[in-house]
């Protein structure tokens, strides 16, 4: 059972650090399951490709260090994981694959623990010609794990390979499409990307089509990782079973459905990893019990186990750690084209009738923070003064009676669709549906469909109202919430919300250079969206709980897949 529920949703966790995507790219953000249970899923700590940090220091991740002398080499770290759909960096679209690939491969630049962009295989770079040309200088003497030298030519070949139609990368456009000539390559109209030029062995020049501050951040995604041509061309599709990379680890064993074992890469350019082995257990199981029995080193804590591990007399309590909050918001979305959601008063009434504070404390043990706006706390653009539609039953009843759908008998049927490939439809949706019935006399059907069906209907904007998902930030800019989710006619605007003033503000914000001004514009738009009740915002993520063995040092919980195991060490090593 562990695992069934999360499986599908994980594919969404991902992503994409799509990050990074500038305003030009219409999609972004990731949708993920909003299972309110802090799940004991097979991936205990969801690696979510989210937000490369443009503004440094915005969200320092939490290094958990202990003082047991210095780091020492040796030992093993074990975790429950699920089968990565691919180990080919250029095909990665999901967090599960990303989490493994990021340990095996690397690119020109990467993210550090604070999610800042730092040099990886490039030791330095220059930005020329008003931001359209990037000149990278590679580190001297860098090698692939098989000992081959890494040259600028390897990068050109790799980037072009990612874009070639026969590679069929789903995200090449998103991450590499800014490079001059790449779009033609992707479409099969060109044999190479003219914007990638090899100057010499160690120098590479990349030209992009317009000055885009996010370009470097995109280069941290696996689509831009360097591969070994000999390796890739050796074994057909099977080359990923013995991949040659530039990460801190190499793949020592991969048995599909059973385990992945990583070993130290002796040819890594930087400090060698401490661990002898990282062991990904792919066959699943009840991770809580496995943790208690010392079979794994880390696990998430589910709602059902939370009371127990919170008890100070419980031995597990000593291992309890907080994982950083994700920048995400859970909500129930309304399709404003479909009655009765076409009447703002009706939507407002539904908003006002829900006492989120009460639900949060009674049902979720305060694991979630009630959301009254769209943008999460601590995120750029978060509006602490936003009041939103707070619980006010009298006003809710009054608005309902004023709305076109005051009469229950003639009110159109309301169906809230939730994804569910395992078990219950989400406690919050169930309780809210009942509150609407009890307090307002509004009857709601909950329809639980499994993930594939849900996704299809959501993509085609066919759902009248939907719950059970969260929007996760991919990059720290309010554009990722407001523009992508509420601008008329975007793929991410699943409820067909449209407001002329909001559109105007969003367009203005896209070109506004001053960050404070932009935030003001977004706040005004957010205010309108919330007042018009385009959604019923539910929860912002708060810190979650995990258990981590005390022998493990310097493990970093991050909101995005970063190479984390090279710094981990265990006190009982050697």
């Amino acid at each position: 059972m562990t695992g069934i529920g999360k499986l599908m949703h994980k594919s969404l966790f991902l992503g994409a650090a799509a990050a990074v995507m500038a305003a030009a790219v219409a999609c972004g953000g990731s949708e993920s399951s909003a299972d309110p249970v802090v799940s004991a899923s097979p991936t205990p700590v969801p690696t979510r490709a989210s937000a490369p940090q443009i503004a440094p220091g915005l969200q320092d991740s939490t290094p958990l260090s202990g003082d047991n002398g210095g780091p020492r080499a040796g030992g093993r770290f074990t975790l429950v994981y699920s089968d990565p759909p691919t180990l080919d960096p250029h095909l990665v679209v999901d967090g599960t694959s990303f989490g493994v690939v990021v340990e095996l491969f690397s690119g020109l630049v990467s993210l550090d623990k604070s999610l800042r962009i730092v040099p990886e295989l490039a030791e330095s770079w220059e930005v020329l010609e008003g931001g359209t040309v990037y000149k990278f200088r590679l580190r001297p003497g860098i090698k692939f794990s098989n000992g081959d030298p890494v040259t600028a030519q390897d990068f050109k070949w790799s980037l072009e390979r990612a874009g070639r139609p026969e590679t069929a990368s789903a995200v090449a456009e998103t991450y590499l499409g800014d490079i001059v000539g790449m779009q033609d390559l992707i479409d099969g109209d060109a044999g190479e990307a003219s914007g990638i030029q090899v100057i010499d062995e160690r120098n590479l020049r990349i030209t992009i089509d317009a000055p885009k501050a996010y370009f470097l951040a995109k280069m941290t995604y696996p689509t831009a990782y360097v591969l070994n041509r000999k390796n890739v061309e050796s074994g057909g599709n099977g080359w990923t079973d013995s991949p040659v990379g530039t990460g801190a680890f190499t793949l020592s064993e991969y048995r599909v459905g059973q385990r992945i074992r990583l070993a130290r890469n002796e040819n890594y350019w930087g400090r060698q990893a401490y661990l002898d082995e990282v062991f990904f257990n792919l066959s699943g199981g009840v991770s809580m019990a496995m943790y208690e029995n010392d079979e794994i080193d880390i696990t998430g804590v589910g709602l059902a186990d939370l009371d127990r591990v919170n008890d100070p007399s419980e031995p597990l309590n000593r291992d309890l750690v907080d994982t950083p909050a994700q920048f995400g918001v859970q909500y129930i979305g309304f399709n404003v084209d479909k009655p009765p959601f076409d009447d703002p008063k009706f939507r407002q009434a539904l908003n006002l009738a829900v006492d989120k504070e009460l639900i949060s404390s009674q049902v979720f043990a305060d694991l979630f923070e009630p959301a009254f706006g769209i943008i999460p706390p601590d995120f750029p653009g978060f509006d602490p003064d936003l009041v939103g539609l707070r619980y006010d039953l009298d006003r809710a009843k009054q608005l309902l009676s004023e709305s076109r759908y005051a009469d229950a008998a003639s009110r159109p049927r309301i169906v809230v669709t939730v994804p569910g490939s395992g078990g219950s439809p989400g406690l919050d949706v169930e309780v809210i549906a009942d509150l609407w019935r009890q307090e307002l006399g509004v009857n709601v059907e909950i329809q639980q469909v499994e993930w594939a069906t849900y996704l299809q209907d959501l993509n085609r904007k066919r759902l009248q109202a939907w719950g059970g998902v969260a929007w996760q930030a991919d990059y720290p800019d309010p554009q990722d919430f407001i523009d992508i989710l509420f601008y008329s006619d975007t793929q991410g605007n699943r409820g067909n919300y449209s407001n002329a003033r909001v559109d105007e503000l969003i367009v203005q914000a896209r070109t506004e250079q001053d960050i404070q001004e932009r935030i003001k514009l977004y706040r005004e738009a957010e205010q309108i969206i919330v007042e018009e009740a385009a959604w019923l915002p539910l929860w912002f993520d708060t810190e979650r709980k995990a258990l981590l063995k005390q022998r493990v040092q310097d493990y970093t919980f991050s909101q995005i897949a970063i190479p984390k195991f090279k710094d981990v060490w265990v006190t009982d090593a050697g």
Binding site: M1, G5, G302, D305, D307, R413, G423, S424, Q447
Partner: protein, 330 residues
Amino acid sequence: MTADSLDQKAPQPRARSLKGRSHFRLAFARLRRKKLGMAAMTVLSLIYLAGIFAPVLETHGYSDTNLLKTQEGPDTENFLGTDRLGRDTYTRLIWGIQTTVIVTVATLLTGALLLGLTLGLIAGYMRGAVDSVIARVGEVVSAFPDILLIILLAATVRPRVLNWARSVEDGTGISGLVSSGFVDFVVIGIALLPLSWFGTMRLVRGQVLQLRNADYVEAARAMGMSTPRILFRHVLPNVISPLIVTVSFGMGAVAGTEIALSFFGLGVQPPRPSLGIMIAEATGRGSTATSVLTQHPEQLLAPIAVVWLLIFSWNILGDALTDVFNPRSR
């Protein structure tokens, strides 16, 4: 789940030329002497009655939440305490039983009785090409690994059937098809069909094949009795007893499978309770159940106890019926 292996063990009944009615009276008299069988029947009656009369027996609405009283132990207001949303566990339990009652009875009626019996009678009596076609279709359906087919159907077909039912409701003014769970029951019933009809069909067919050459059937035919009449008067009464036995074993299997389906979120739609959903919710789907058992045992133990009693009792009853109808194995 494993329960479905039981119905493989359909008793090998013998042709008997007893007159139907007296045969049953005799059988029932024998059954009354079986203490265990009677006990099982009593338990089953109680469970099924509880399910049928759920609307009367409920103390709350099954989806009524009460956020001021969540995860409380049993008291005079909530006989079995409340769940995480403050819903009454006792009420949800009896409604969950009703779900199981409807699914088992519906599957039994459509699958085992209607389809299995009719097709079995036809196949056995007509033989030849008709028999072959029915047997081949049955083989195809039963060649699907049960649980895979069920999950596949529930995942792919159900949402579309639901949408269709909604448009029917909106178009015709009929109401309650979807909200009452009727559509769910139909889909689940169809998904569970392969579990039930093929076994019955083969059993009935075998019986008919044996009987059709029996002297009294030949005599009836010679006297010019019509085929349907022969089937009804002479063949049917004789296949009913082995059928009852098969069905009583099959009921346990169907109940178990419905519960598993709900456990995976592919059963009835929320907020309608089902025993599987209750188990899934109580264990949080990902934990060892250890935490639940130490803190709120009633939330998990109540549905589990009912599931256990259901399957246990159906099988004991099946055993007793085997003995009753098939005294040679005594």
